[in-house]
């Protein structure tokens, strides 16, 4: 891959996904794009990129963008967040919503482990939840929808007892049970794109480790979108170590609960 190709990839990632592809990831990018080139029928990564630059960004462009995103996820990642969710938030929401469905958004759900972690917590408490799960990557969503995981994936973060309770074994795969899958609706979405004005709002949004690699301006943009999609007394989970800093004034952190945010007074005033 030539430095010029890498520059153009950087700008593609920044404009389409708000993603900061740093120069130290050049080798990684090349490694990730190899399988994409083979799938798309190109001899080499260079040949694929040459074809890409000649055309508007469509299927091929998005396949390349998807391959460069970070898909890493596991069950109950940042365990403390799920403890807070199941022990404090969900019980409070069950009382507050009094039988009405609790709406949850897994924004940047990747291959779905977060979705099922949320779903298992809800079913164990008998909480009526609807989970909307979105991601930019079509390939990640495809896998998330199947709810099927290898032995390696299924046990990362999941106790064996929980695995047996909520997943069925089918040859080498472990597949989320129908009652779990019925809770989730998957769709492709770009967090940089503004949703429809009447898009329904959520009680809880999980958007964890999605903005880690984003440009500051893109982070601000995403946080503002999340704020608009969250009810005023709703909660936002970011990754345990993620900070909002100066990127947005929409949220404030909740003291003593790593990764948990609520709307800031400024955001609430603006809404009123």
């Amino acid at each position: 891959m030539s430095p010029e190709d890498f520059d153009r990839l950087q700008s593609l990632m920044a404009t389409r996904a708000g993603y900061r592809l740093t120069r130290d990831r050049m080798k990684l990018a090349e490694h990730r794009l190899g399988p994409v080139a083979r799938r798309e029928g190109f001899e080499t990564v260079d040949a694929m990129l040459a074809a890409l630059w000649g055309k508007p960004v469509a299927g091929l462009g998005w396949s390349i963008i998807e391959a460069l995103l970070n898909p890493e996820t596991w069950f109950r990642r940042d365990r403390a967040a799920f403890e807070t969710f199941s022990r404090e938030l969900l019980p409070a929401l069950i009382r507050a919503r009094a039988g009405q469905p609790i709406r949850i958004w897994s924004a940047g759900c990747s291959t779905g482990q977060e979705v099922w972690s949320i779903g298992m917590a809800a079913l164990e408490l008998g909480a009526p939840v609807e989970i909307v799960a979105t991601d930019l990557s079509r390939r990640a969503l495809e896998k998330a929808r199947t709810g099927a995981y290898t032995g390696f994936e299924i046990q990362r973060g999941l106790k064996a007892q929980t695995m047996l309770r909520w997943f069925d074994q089918a040859e080498d795969a472990w597949i989320a049970r129908a009652e779990l899958r019925a809770l989730a609706h998957f769709a492709r979405a770009n967090l940089l794109t503004a949703p429809a004005a009447d898009a329904p709002r959520f009680d809880v949004i999980f958007c964890r480790h999605v903005m880690d690699d984003m440009e500051s301006a893109a982070r601000g943009q995403v946080l503002d979108q999340l704020e608009r999609r969250l009810v005023d007394d709703g909660c936002l989970f970011l990754g345990a170590e993620e900070r909002i800093g100066d990127d947005s004034l929409a949220f404030r952190p909740v003291a003593g609960r790593k990764g948990l945010f609520v709307k800031s007074p400024a955001a609430l005033k603006r809404a009123a």
């Binding site: 596991w74 365990r79 032995g151 046990q155 990362r156 999941l158 064996a160 074994q169």
Partner: protein
């Protein structure tokens, strides 16, 4: 430094290294698996001892109970399930967190291990991230 398996005094001597190191006994007939697991578990700040089968492990536990036991299923002399049932019958034998760690991946066998008193179950192959997440889930770290 290679430690022999199944002798309690060695477990005790290793405890002197720091203030309150937690201890883990790795029970597996494969020396390679023991070595790989040891490296990961030591990374989680545990003092590690090894045993090559259930009977060695039982002798070790009769002397000193480790905090965590990583247990293979199929081993010569005494298998993991027999060891687990005997361990749980020993005085103080309910205390160690026992994680099966085996190539046996059928759901019914996993359920059998859990009902025999295992705290969790690791299917081989595994890596450091899986093992450390399992240790976290059983409250060992």
């Amino acid at each position: 430094m290679r430690r022999c398996a199944g002798r309690a005094p060695r477990g005790l001597s290793s405890r002197k290294k720091s203030v309150t190191p937690r201890t883990c006994l790795i029970v597996d007939d494969s020396r390679i698996i023991r070595k790989v697991a040891r490296r990961i578990v030591e990374g989680l700040k545990f003092d590690v001892d090894e045993a090559a089968d259930g009977s060695e492990a039982l002798a070790f536990c009769a002397g000193v109970m480790p905090d965590v036991i990583l247990l293979d299923w199929s081993m010569p002399v005494m298998d993991g399930l027999t060891f687990l049932r005997r361990l749980r019958a020993l005085p103080g034998g309910d205390r160690p967190k026992v994680l099966f760690c085996t190539i046996e991946t059928r759901a019914e066998r996993i359920a059998e291990a859990l009902s025999a008193g295992a705290d969790d179950y690791v299917m081989k192959p595994f890596d450091g991230e899986i093992l450390s997440s399992k240790f976290a889930e059983v409250g060992a770290v």
